[in-house]
């Protein structure tokens, strides 16, 4: 089956192409099912092809499809190793569930087919990214997912806010891509090739510390753009303008994890640069606590989840920055489960509340939407890190690994712990505000449970959120063994092995989670006046959090405005006056020359005759003179 790995990319790609041309002739739900079948097929292929790795002992395989740019060692080649397999399974598995959910969510939309075209295209692009065998192909997938993100965020393009958000996402990503590209150029300069095999095998000989640090930091810039870390995270909250399945798939489970994947994949390079690793981890930790604090005070249900994603991505960066690659990828997987679940659940709520997203206008939905409420509770507890749900195992492994690393990482561990507490608080707040207590919704809202096509994926994801963590517990490090072939030659930071330290660390994490959840529930199960006063008591801090520290405003004033002034100057002064002036000036020059030469054309043959003969005379003189 490994020979057919290209099917994993080809199936969703074929789906996208087919729906692009023929989607409008296919009746509504059928196009959605087709798209889901395409990505479901990709999941099956990945699963079958991953079996050798699960059994253990299989070697990573590189499959070359065709030559692309031999001069820089870039060809269409796929690398199928445990890490790629894991990523492919997560993308296709969660992706299929989200596709199915979207059939219900996007029902009635007039561009239903286009939505699934773009979703399938996204899946194909993301799979290109994770299955790439060299940096060039990875970058190709990287850019394509950026494009699909733009298309899907701006899916309802008639809304100016949506169009602006799509542009913002693309542009901020581009800034990250700039650093990424320079990093790739450095890789090429040092190694003369971009293929993973070529680079990683020779990393030890060719790489100096300085160069490794430079590459590591530049790749971080790209990863920070794609994975929404400080300072390039500002696009993700705005990206919530897109339909909720898009938020679930792209901005929670898959695309944003690309940055983490790249750093994990480049582990052999980071091996040689402790400096870059510390920077990665610090950026992650800082982003985690920054975003968690913002999430505390948001009113929009999707914004809470958006900032939560940024925060959890910070955790993943914290992991890979401490060389705990397995822990980071593990958290990537579990996060995909419960964050997709939370987003889809939010989608279910929004859909039934006729697109209401303000949590202050929800409440008591538990009675109207019991299944959604239950599954979201599972997701919330998983996110908070309550054992034995998935989130606990992965988050705890990250924190333990950081603690074990020591030095500066102690400090980061503390930040992580505090963030875990905040995480538990805000997600409890979310659940209580939405589902508990007395209804606060408007008269015209008629909340109802969502149809089965939407609730079944929720149940599936809830199941995964419960059992997903058991693949890598300290009692049985299944995932770690699974991923071993991908990290050959790389030192992986592991959690402490002695049960005492491990136990104390786990207890601290559990304590943080429980305290957070408890505080959240207690604060918000009271009537609205009480918790409003509770929020006000934190002013002015609460207001700052609600405004996301005013970062967007800051960027607007320091970067966007000068940029716009520069563009205006260039357009209206330089272009209009200098360039147009030169071009028009040439025109005027030509016309002037024409006016000056026109009198020669008198229309009289005899005048022309004089010119003829004069010319003939010149020729004769010349001929005679030259012998």
């Amino acid at each position: 089956m490994t020979d057919f790995i290209w099917l994993v990319i080809a199936l969703p790609l074929a789906g996208a192409v087919f729906l692009h041309f023929f989607g409008r002739y296919v009746k509504e739900p059928l196009s959605g099912w087709l798209a889901s079948a395409a990505i479901g097929g990709a999941f099956v292929v990945s699963a079958v092809a991953a079996v050798p790795f699960i059994q253990g002992g299989a070697e990573p395989v590189t499959i070359s499809l065709w030559e692309w740019m031999p001069a820089i060692g870039a060809s269409f080649e796929l690398l199928w190793d445990p890490l790629a397999a894991l990523m492919a399974l997560v993308v296709t598995g969660v992706g299929t569930l989200i596709h199915v959910f979207a059939i219900g969510y996007m029902h009635g939309d007039e561009r239903f087919h286009r939505f699934f075209t773009n979703l399938n295209l996204f899946a194909a692009s993301m799979l290109t990214l994770v299955l790439a065998g060299n940096y060039a192909m990875l970058f190709l997938g990287w850019e394509l997912v950026g494009l699909c993100s733009y298309l899907l965020i701006g899916f309802w393009y008639t809304r100016t806010t949506a169009a602006a958000a799509a542009k913002k996402a693309f542009i901020v990503n581009r800034i990250g891509d700039f650093g990424f590209m320079i990093g790739l150029m450095l890789v090429f300069t040092v190694f003369g090739t971009l293929s993973f095999a070529g680079v990683f095998e020779r990393a030890a000989e060719e790489l100096t510390g300085g160069m490794a640090t430079a590459i590591g930091l530049l790749l971080l810039v790209g990863a920070a753009g794609k994975s929404a870390q400080i300072p390039l995270y500002v696009w993700l909250p705005d990206a919530m303008e897109g339909p909720t399945p898009v938020s679930a798939l792209i901005h929670a489970a898959t695309m944003v994890t690309a940055g983490v994947y790249v750093i994990a994949r480049s582990a052999p390079i980071y091996e040689f640069t402790p400096v870059a690793s510390i920077v990665v981890a610090s950026v992650g930790a800082l982003t985690a606590i920054w975003a968690a604090s913002i999430a505390l005070a948001q009113r929009d249900i999707k914004k809470v989840l958006a900032y939560s994603t940024i925060s959890q991505l910070g955790f993943m960066f914290l992991a890979v920055g401490a060389r705990a690659y397995v822990a980071g990828v593990f958290h990537l997987m579990t996060h995909a489960f419960f964050k997709a679940l939370l987003f889809l659940g939010a989608g279910s709520v929004i859909h039934s509340m006729s697109d209401e997203q303000d949590m202050h206008r929800m409440g008591g939905l538990m009675r109207k939407m019991p299944l959604t409420a239950a599954t979201m509770a599972v997701g919330a507890l998983a996110l908070a890190g309550i054992p034995p749900l998935a989130g606990f195992w992965s988050k705890d492994e990250i924190l333990a690994a950081d603690f074990a690393r020591g030095g500066w990482y102690y400090f980061l561990w503390i930040i992580g712990l505090v963030t875990a507490l905040l995480t538990a608080f805000y997600i409890a707040r979310l659940w209580v505000l939405v589902f508990y207590g007395e209804p606060r919704w408007q008269e015209d809202a008629h909340p109802h449970e969502s149809p089965r096509v939407m609730t079944l994926p929720l149940v599936a994801l809830a199941f995964l959120s419960v059992v997903g963590g058991l693949v890598n517990t300290p009692f049985r490090l299944g995932l770690e063994h699974f991923l071993e072939p991908s990290f050959e030659g790389v030192h992986i930071q592991e959690a402490p092995t002695d049960w005492l330290t491990l136990g104390i660390l786990a207890a601290l994490s559990i304590l943080a989670a429980v305290v957070g959840v408890g505080a959240g529930v207690l604060a918000y199960k009271r009537p609205p006046e009480r918790w409003r006063r509770f929020e006000e008591s934190f002013e002015p801090l609460w207001g700052t959090w609600e405004l996301a520290y005013g970062v967007d405003d800051l960027y607007g004033r320091t970067l966007v405005l000068p940029g716009r002034r520069l563009a205006e100057a260039a357009a209206f002064s330089v272009d209009a006056k200098v360039v147009d002036g030169a071009v028009n000036g040439v025109g005027r020059l030509v016309r002037g020359a024409g006016d000056w030469a026109r009198p020669l054309q008198t229309g009289f043959v005899r005048n022309y005759g004089v010119l003829f003969l004069a010319g003939a005379l010149v020729v004769v003189v010349w001929l005679v003179a030259s012998g």
Binding site: T602, R606, V610, V620, V624
Partner: protein, 178 residues
């Protein structure tokens, strides 16, 4: 007195006649006079051709040029009734000035060429004239005409046909007049 002397005398007479005819063409006010002047020049050139042992060319010149072409000219002059005189006033500004400059330049050039001493009229001239080789009898001229230059010969035949047809088309009367 001998052959040389004869040739020189004939040359001088014919040259004077030719130049006189040419000047008449240019200066005569009545176009009929110009035509007659041209006729004189043509005969003179024919004479000079005969002296240079090109009898066929001279004969053809007299028959075709002086005979047919000039007759045609005279017919047209009569037909379109321009035997009136032309005024001497030059309507185009500065035309005479430019022509004068041009003529002056040519004469200067010619004088300069002649005086430079290096000027040769025919650079590829042979040292002695072979009378037989340059004797332009009918047989002698016909030979290269029908062997080396037969293609051009046929082409000129075609040319004449086309010219005749073209002239008919150009000058025909338009029958449909309301």
């Amino acid at each position: 007195m001998g052959k040389r002397m004869v040739e020189t005398v004939i040359f001088v007479v014919a040259a004077v006649a030719a130049l006189a005819g040419a000047v008449t063409v240019v200066l005569a006010r009545n176009p009929i006079y110009s035509a007659v002047g041209l006729l004189g020049t043509l005969f003179s050139v024919a004479t000079l051709s005969v002296v240079q042992l090109a009898p066929l060319v001279a004969a053809v010149q007299v028959i075709v040029y002086a005979g047919a072409v000039m007759t045609l000219f005279l017919f047209v002059i009569m037909l379109i009734g321009v035997d009136k005189e032309e005024t001497r006033v030059e309507p185009l500004p500065r035309q005479r000035m430019w022509v004068g400059i041009l003529a002056g330049a040519v004469i200067l050039f010619a004088a300069g060429a002649a005086l430079s001493g290096e000027f040769v009229w025919v650079p590829a001239a042979a040292t002695a004239i072979d009378q037989d080789a340059t004797n332009g009898t009918i047989q002698a001229v016909a030979e290269p005409l029908f062997t080396d230059w037969v293609l051009a010969f046929e082409a000129t035949a075609l040319l004449l046909t086309i010219a005749a047809a073209g002239a008919v088309v150009l000058a025909q009367f338009k029958r449909k007049r309301a």
